[in-house]
C-alpha cells in the first residue's frame, strides 16, 4: 500500500504547476504622487525575461473606469489577468445603469481583496500595484503588494522605487505641487532608477489623472549623461578590492 506522505491538508508548493512560484516576464518600478489637481504616475516600458530585456514597449499604466489609473510592476501576464478582472467589474457595475461608478477607493479596495485572496490560496498574483485617481474632488493614491499588504500615501513607489525614489519624494514632495513640478519630480526619480536599476529602460510613460479624466503620455526618453568621471573609472574612489 503506497501512500503519499500527509501534508496537513496544505497544498504542496512544488508539485502543482498551476501556480506562480516565480515570475517570468516582469516589469520594474512604478512611481506615483499626488499633485495639486490629481495624480501623476510614471513607469518605464521594459519587460524583463529574467535578466534579458525581452520586451521594450509594454504599457504598464492603464486607465480603469472613469476615475482611476492602475500601474503595475511584477509578472506582466498576471497584470493582464488583473486588467480582465477589472474590465468585468467595471462592466457589471455599469450594467446597473444607475449613474453610479466605481471610484479609485473602491477599485483599490477590490484589488486588495483579490491579491489577499490569491495569497490565501497559495497562488499569488505576482505584482505590486499602484492605484491612483480622483473622484468628487478627492485625490486618492494607494498601493497593494503580492501578499495583500496595502496602504495609502501622498507618494508611492514599487520595487526599486521604494529604495531609490521614495527618499527623493520624501525630501521634495509637497501638497501644492504644480503639474510641471510634479512631472519634473517624477522624472528625477525615473532618472535615478534608470542609472541604478539594471532592468529599467530609457523609455517611459507619464500618466495624469484629474477630475477631467486620464491622459497617458506618448513614450519618451530622458536625457542622461554617462560622462561623470565616477562612471569612467568606478574603482578610483574604492581602491584595494579589485
Amino acid at each position: 500500500m503506497d501512500q503519499k506522505p500527509s501534508n496537513c491538508g496544505l497544498p504542496s508548493l512544488e508539485a502543482d504547476s498551476q501556480r506562480t512560484l516565480y515570475p517570468y516576464v516582469t516589469g520594474t518600478s512604478v512611481v506615483a504622487l499626488k499633485y495639486k489637481d490629481g495624480i501623476l504616475m510614471a513607469a518605464d516600458m521594459g519587460g524583463s525575461y529574467g535578466s534579458t530585456l525581452r520586451y521594450k514597449s509594454v504599457e504598464r499604466i492603464k486607465p480603469i473606469g472613469k476615475h482611476s489609473l492602475l500601474g503595475a510592476s511584477g509578472e506582466l501576464s498576471d497584470f493582464q489577468e488583473i486588467l480582465r478582472y477589472l474590465d468585468e467589474l467595471i462592466l457589471y457595475d455599469n450594467m446597473w445603469d444607475d449613474g453610479n461608478s466605481l471610484g479609485p477607493k473602491e477599485v483599490h479596495s477590490y484589488l486588495t481583496r483579490v491579491m489577499y485572496n490569491r495569497r490565501n490560496k497559495f497562488n499569488p498574483l505576482w505584482n505590486s500595484l499602484v492605484l491612483g485617481g480622483v473622484k468628487n474632488g478627492q485625490r486618492y493614491l494607494g498601493t497593494v503588494s503580492m501578499i495583500g499588504v496595502n496602504f495609502e500615501d501622498n507618494h508611492v513607489a514599487t520595487g526599486f522605487g521604494n529604495h531609490l525614489a521614495r527618499p527623493i519624494l520624501r525630501e521634495e514632495w509637497h501638497e501644492n505641487l504644480s503639474f510641471e513640478d510634479g512631472v519634473r519630480l517624477l522624472e528625477k526619480c525615473m532618472r535615478v532608477l534608470l542609472y541604478r536599476d539594471r532592468s529599467a529602460v530609457n523609455k517611459f510613460q507619464v500618466a495624469k489623472i484629474t477630475e477631467e479624466g486620464v491622459t497617458i503620455s506618448q513614450p519618451y526618453s530622458l536625457k542622461t549623461s554617462w560622462g561623470f568621471s565616477a562612471f569612467k573609472n568606478p574603482t578610483l574612489g574604492a581602491e584595494g578590492s579589485w
Binding site: 512560484l21 516565480y22 529574467g50 499569488p124 501578499i147 495583500g148 496602504f151 521604494n162
Partner: protein, 223 residues
C-alpha cells in the same frame, strides 16, 4: 530559466508596537504609525488602532494584510451582533470573539499581535493581550509588537500595579491617573524608538473613558 527568487512566503512582518494601560475608570491604548518591510519604511502614517465597538479598541501589529482581514471580519461579526441584540458588544465579549477568531485559523494563522483595550460592564478599564493563535489573558497593562520586549519591563517598573502572582488575586488596574498613564506611554515609545528600527515616526494614543474617546499624537524619531 532558473528561478531567481527565494521561496515565496505568504507572510511578511510589517512591524510596529502597541501598548495598553487600564485604569480604574479609563483605558489608554497606543501604537506607533510606522509600517515597514525589511529595511524599508512603507509609510509613516498607518494607524494600527481600530474601534471595534463603542467601548472597545484594538491595536494590532504583525502582518498588515492579515490584520486588515481580521479587522474586517470582526467588524462584520459585530454588525451581525448589533442586528441580533440591538446593542454594542461589551469589551469582554469582544475579547472572547477575537480569541475564537484567531484560533479558528490555528493551522494557517493570522500573523497578528493584538491588544484589546476598553471599558468592561462596570465601566472599569480593561486590557486583553493575545498571541497570534488566540491565547489570551485579561491584564492591567500590556505591550505587543516588535518592541514589546523593550516596552514590557518599562511598564512593569513604572505602573505600580500589584503583582499578578499575589494571593489572593488583586485587581490588576493601575492606581495611576489618566494623565500619568499617558505620560508613561509617551516615555515608553520615545525609549523604544531608540532601539527598535520597526517602531517610530509617530505614536497614536487613544484614551477611552466615561466621556467617550479622545486621540493624541506625539512625533517620534523618523530614522
Amino acid at each position: 530559466m532558473t528561478k531567481q527568487q527565494a521561496n515565496w512566503s505568504p507572510y511578511d512582518n510589517n512591524g510596529g508596537s502597541c501598548v495598553a494601560i487600564a485604569g480604574a475608570d479609563y483605558c489608554v491604548i497606543a501604537a506607533d504609525t510606522r509600517m515597514s518591510t525589511g529595511y524599508n519604511v512603507l509609510t509613516r502614517e498607518y494607524s494600527k488602532i481600530t474601534k471595534l465597538a463603542d467601548k472597545c479598541l484594538m491595536a494590532s501589529s504583525g502582518f498588515q494584510a492579515d490584520v486588515k482581514a481580521l479587522q474586517k471580519l470582526l467588524a462584520a461579526r459585530h454588525l451581525i451582533y448589533q442586528h441580533q441584540h440591538n446593542k454594542q458588544m461589551s469589551c469582554p465579549a469582544m475579547a472572547q470573539l477575537l480569541s475564537n477568531t484567531l484560533y479558528y485559523k490555528r493551522f494557517f494563522p493570522y500573523y497578528s499581535f493584538n491588544l484589546l483595550g476598553g471599558l468592561d460592564n462596570e465601566g472599569k478599564g480593561c486590557v486583553y493581550t493575545y498571541d497570534a493563535v488566540g491565547s489570551y489573558e485579561r491584564a492591567g497593562y500590556s505591550s505587543q509588537g516588535t518592541a514589546s520586549t523593550l516596552l514590557m519591563p518599562y511598564l512593569d517598573k513604572m505602573l505600580k500595579s500589584p503583582s499578578p502572582l499575589l494571593l489572593p488575586a488583586q485587581d490588576a488596574v493601575t492606581p495611576l491617573s489618566e494623565s500619568e498613564a499617558i505620560d508613561i506611554i509617551k516615555n515608553a515609545f520615545a525609549a523604544a524608538t531608540e532601539r527598535d528600527i520597526y517602531t517610530g515616526d509617530k505614536v497614536e494614543i487613544v484614551i477611552l473613558n466615561a466621556h467617550g474617546i479622545r486621540r493624541e499624537y506625539m512625533e517620534l524619531r523618523k530614522d
